[in-house]
Amino acid sequence: MLSALILILLIAGGLAWYFGNRNADIARWIALGSLGGMLMFMIPLMPQALNAPIHHGVEISWLVYQQNSWIPRFGINLILALDGLSLLLVLLTLLLGVIAVAASWHEITERVGFFYFNLLWSLAGVLGVFMALDLFLFFFFWEMMLIPMYFLIGIWGHENRHYAAIKFFIFTQVSSLLMLISMLALAYLHYLNNGHYSFSYFDLVGTGDQSPYGFWLMLGFFIAFVVKLPAFPFHTWLPDAHTQAPTGGSIILAGVLLKTGAYGLIRFLIPLFPDSLNYFGPYAMAIGVTGVLYTAVVAFAQTDLKRLIAYTSISHMGFVLLGVYAWNILSLQGAAMQMLTHGLSAAALFMIAGAIQHRIHTRNLEEMGGFWASVPKIGCITLFFAMASLGMPGLGNFVAEFLVLVGSFQVNVPMTLIATLGLVTAAVYSLIIIQKAFHGPQTDHQQMPDFDQREMGAMTVMIIGLLWMGLYPQTFLDTLAPVFAQLDGAVIIVENQVNLPTLVSHLEAAQ
């Protein structure tokens, strides 16, 4: 059933390309219909996820589980599964997919069919990443989301698109090769111990630490994930990619693609290498915290609106890294919430930046000013998302950052104190957006149209989402709680050096 989801998107992408050559509108409607339909299809799983029982151990209860044999000789299977975390991220992906289609509706007029083909294929890859539990399959999807995104940036991007697309490709490609090496090593290690290859998540959980090269294997995964996250100092592809990507591409990049890195850390890296929490945790937290502050300062200095927002994204992702490596229920819930809330707030900000660029043909903040009078809707909505981004309580981002900080405070006080300074720097860069674009004296760009109904619709969805996550986050926290209880249980058992075959049999019995 889960593979059908991915397949539908792939087929819809092909159809969009085929029909888009004759009539662009058909391609748009195919993309919207397939994503929207799947969203409607997936939402009914939420009540089940909400009521999933919490096991503080290794028993795993997947909401949906699918296993087929693929390449038995190397122990490669088609394992796709959904739990609360995957489900929420899948929903986020589909929702932002719909919004990306809406944002591209009038912006993309060239080769429309091929555009939606790439968009849908990239999203299909992302869905695969969030559901795959076979390392090889995971890698397959990991690559599958890259190449369409490369085309999205390289073909429909702005003035410097080729440079940005190639930079994006090289960064992610090199880092994912390192991950591939680590994966092959883990499978080989399994062969040495058990006499057969396996890429299955259940076979490999906790085995990374047994290898004498465990640290280096862990590093391979780590680099792949933090390049995608991105974390300082591997973030440098992101400002270029974001700035140059078309609005739809930026929304997918910021809203969804970055989350695959965070997801990889939570789902794969820590469970595969639980010991790395001890020997690597403080360094990873330091990387996260440095990123929070460093990119906040850099963001403030930008004059390109999209570039500024791109740097704020990196800053917010630093909190995720901090939360993951603090690894307690508070900080993990916070990190996961940060993935969801940032998905909405960053996507909205990029959509706003794209809308402004579409109207006045510049992203330069120095050429903006006084927009409040002419486009009050855009102003009011930007203010809302700027407030979300600086962590205003009542909106989801506050809940996320507060949980991360409360959780990490119990683990590492100095790191948390430094990260908390990010609350001040976030205020500095968020307010400068409002000041430069919307306040101040009016500039020449007086006569731009305000948001239309399509844009208001997309914004309304994201505003409601952030208010929901800010005022009643329990819906999401309850969905996530069983996942973290069980991941935490697995990690603790492995840490205590419980005999691994029992763990594996536990995990398998639970399927």
């Binding site: 440098t236 200095a301 119990q410």
Partner: protein
């Protein structure tokens, strides 16, 4: 009626949401009915809650839980309101004074094109402020705390076309955020040590777990104090408030005098058990208050902008409240908060009327002789100033007197600071009276551009506030069971001094600014006087200091990092590979002889390697 408590913050919030969603399409009449009416209704509900609450047995508290907000591990804050004597007093001040200021503002802002946006922000502010005072846990309090900060930012920068206003708004937001960050760290520590953020539980557990002079209690009290000095504009985070006067005058009255800036006082009173466990920090509160009230008092003397004088006066009066909390005159501190809300709102609103009458002239050097032109406003302003100067029988007298008496019994030095401050207060407040309302007329008044009905609203608001300011001293606040009691009595000589010195200050003001201005000129010719004046005028140089310590370095850092040095490093690999590309390209010369030479040489080298190995 207590069951309706949730409506008190909800009504202004709802009105704000409606005003935002209608995007300014409503006409002014409808906006004012919605904006003022919702607050009025909320004030009525607050009053009926108060009546019901008074009938309950003394010392009881009422909690209303709306829903569970967050539930992760031990962190389980809910959206709950907590009503006891203290939050009741705050709720009444916020809704009633808030209503009167809204009423006034509906006239004052009438000519403004952004009438609807103004009321949307004001209503939102009141909702956030009410959540702040009613919150039963510190996380919800923090929500209100940040919410009022946001509205303060929006309203300071209300006239956004002038970049200076935007700068003042951001300054206010960022400086208070520094304090808020300290407070947030305090919350992290509370969660770690006590596992809860519920205010009553925190206080109970703190008393059980921590001993007197406990280190944790001291650190947490200090961090909360950090939040309080930011929001209440006390040393060292006071410098944003004078600039915040860039907002419309009703905003200054509501946010930057009567309610938001006193949130710090409320926070300390709310968490007084923590401060009682940490006497050193409590003493620090008193010291901060005393220093601030003196610094701001001297600065107020030198200002020339009528609103900036009142702003410094607000900082100084909140200093008194901090002094009161620090020396243990808890109830007196809250009492001063209440009376200050009355008379400072009155002062700001009547200053607003002066400013309107003079067509947005705020410089007092260009005012004079106004008591004949606008006698009604003169009387209102006079009442406000008399209360501010704590003349006997006014509300300010009844609230300031116990503070000074308690300060005397705790520490004569603090008392002396407070006394000097009282003298300064009288001096600068009557300087304002004499300069603005007496002497020769310098700027002529204009008729207001506000319709008759709205003018009447402004007047009735001023009358109501005047009555509150005059007779507010007769109120008794239901704080007995909430805050530790104190019964301050100082020797009769000290009390006499407390009473007489403000009168001397007024007499001196009369001499310096009315009767014998040449005395002042003489003082100013003495060496160094100009420098001191400039120093006080600039708020003791704090802006300059913070610019040098924080703002400029941050700007320099941002400029230096703007190109993202990490990106520069990653570009090195790019440069290396394109250099390699160029280098290899160089061998492509097109000369056949060259190719043949290299090929031969290569073949020889390969053969040699083969032969030798």
């Amino acid at each position: 009626m207590l069951k309706l408590l949730w409506l008190v913050p909800l009504l202004p919030l709802l009105s704000s949401v409606i005003l935002i969603l209608t995007k300014g399409k409503l006409d002014n009449t409808r906006v004012s009915y919605l904006g003022v009416g919702s607050v009025g209704l909320s004030a009525l509900i607050a009053i009926s809650c108060a009546i019901n609450f008074n009938m309950a047995p003394p010392g009881s508290a009422y909690t209303q839980t709306l829903w569970q907000w967050i539930d992760v591990g031990t962190l389980q804050p809910s959206i709950s309101f907590y009503l006891d004597g203290l939050s009741l007093v705050m709720m009444l001040v916020v809704t009633c004074v808030g209503f009167l200021i809204h009423l006034y503002a509906s006239g004052y802002m009438y000519p403004d094109t952004d009438y609807s946006r103004f009321f949307a922000c004001m209503n939102l502010f009141l909702a956030a402020m009410l959540i702040l005072v009613l919150a039963d846990n510190l996380l919800l309090l923090y929500l209100g705390w940040e919410g009022v900060g946001l509205c303060s930012y929006l309203l300071i920068g209300f006239w956004y076309k002038d970049p200076e206003n935007g700068r003042a708004a951001r300054k206010a937001f960022i400086i208070t955020r520094v304090g808020d960050t300290a407070m947030a760290i305090g919350l992290f520590l509370l969660v770690r040590e006590l596992g809860t953020l519920d205010i009553q539980q925190v206080m109970d557990q703190a008393n059980h777990i921590w001993k007197q002079d406990s280190g944790y209690a001291a650190i947490i009290a200090l961090l909360l104090l950090g939040g309080a000095v930011g929001k209440s504009a006390q040393l060292p985070l006071q410098s944003w408030l004078p600039d915040a006067m860039a907002g419309p005058t009703p905003v200054s009255a509501l946010i930057h005098a009567a309610t938001m800036v006193t949130a710090g006082v409320y926070l300390i009173a709310r968490s007084h058990e923590l401060f009682l466990l940490a006497p050193d920090i409590q003493m620090l509160v008193a010291v901060v208050g005393t220093l601030t009230l003196l610094l701001a008092g001297f600065s107020a003397l030198t200002q020339t902008d009528i609103k900036r004088i009142l702003a410094y006066s607000t900082i100084s009066q909140i200093g008194y409240m901090f002094l009161a909390l620090g020396v243990g005159a808890w109830s007196a501190g809250i009492f001063h908060l209440v009376t200050h809300a009355f008379f400072k709102a009155l002062l700001f609103l009547s200053a607003g009327s002066v400013i309107l009458a003079l067509h947005h002239q705020q410089d007092i050097r260009k005012m004079g002789g106004l008591y004949k032109r606008i006698p009604f406003i003169f009387i209102a302003f006079l009442i406000g100033s008399a209360c501010l100067a704590a003349l006997p029988m006014t509300s300010g007298f009844f609230s300031k007197e116990p503070i000074l008496a308690q300060a005397w019994s705790q520490s004569p030095i603090l008392w002396l600071g407070g006394l000097l401050g009282a003298f300064l207060t009288a001096l600068y407040s009557f300087r304002l009276i004499f300069v603005v309302f007496f002497g020769e007329v310098k700027t002529e008044t204009h008729p207001l551009e506000v319709p008759e009905k709205e003018q009447w609203r402004m007047s009735s608001s001023l009358i109501a506030l005047s009555l509150l300011a005059l007779f507010g001293g007769a109120l008794t606040l239901p704080l007995d069971r909430v805050l530790p009691a104190s019964d301050p009595h100082a020797p009769i000589g000290i009390e006499a001094l407390n009473t007489v010195l403000p009168i001397i200050g007024i007499y001196l003001a009369y001499q310096l600014f009315m009767k014998n201005p040449q005395w002042l000129d003489k003082v100013m010719t003495s060496p160094g006087a100009e420098k001191i004046k400039a120093f006080w005028f600039a708020g003791w140089g704090f802006d300059d200091l913070y610019d040098r310590l924080f703002r400029f370095p941050y700007l320099r850092l941002a400029a230096a990092l703007g190109d993202d040095f990490a990106d520069q490093i990653s570009r090195i690999t790019e440069k290396v590979s394109s250099y390699g590309h160029w280098l290899m390209g160089q061998t492509q010369t097109g000369s056949v002889r060259g190719y043949a030479t290299v090929m031969t040489a290569g073949a020889i080298v390969v053969l040699a390697i083969g032969a030798l190995s």
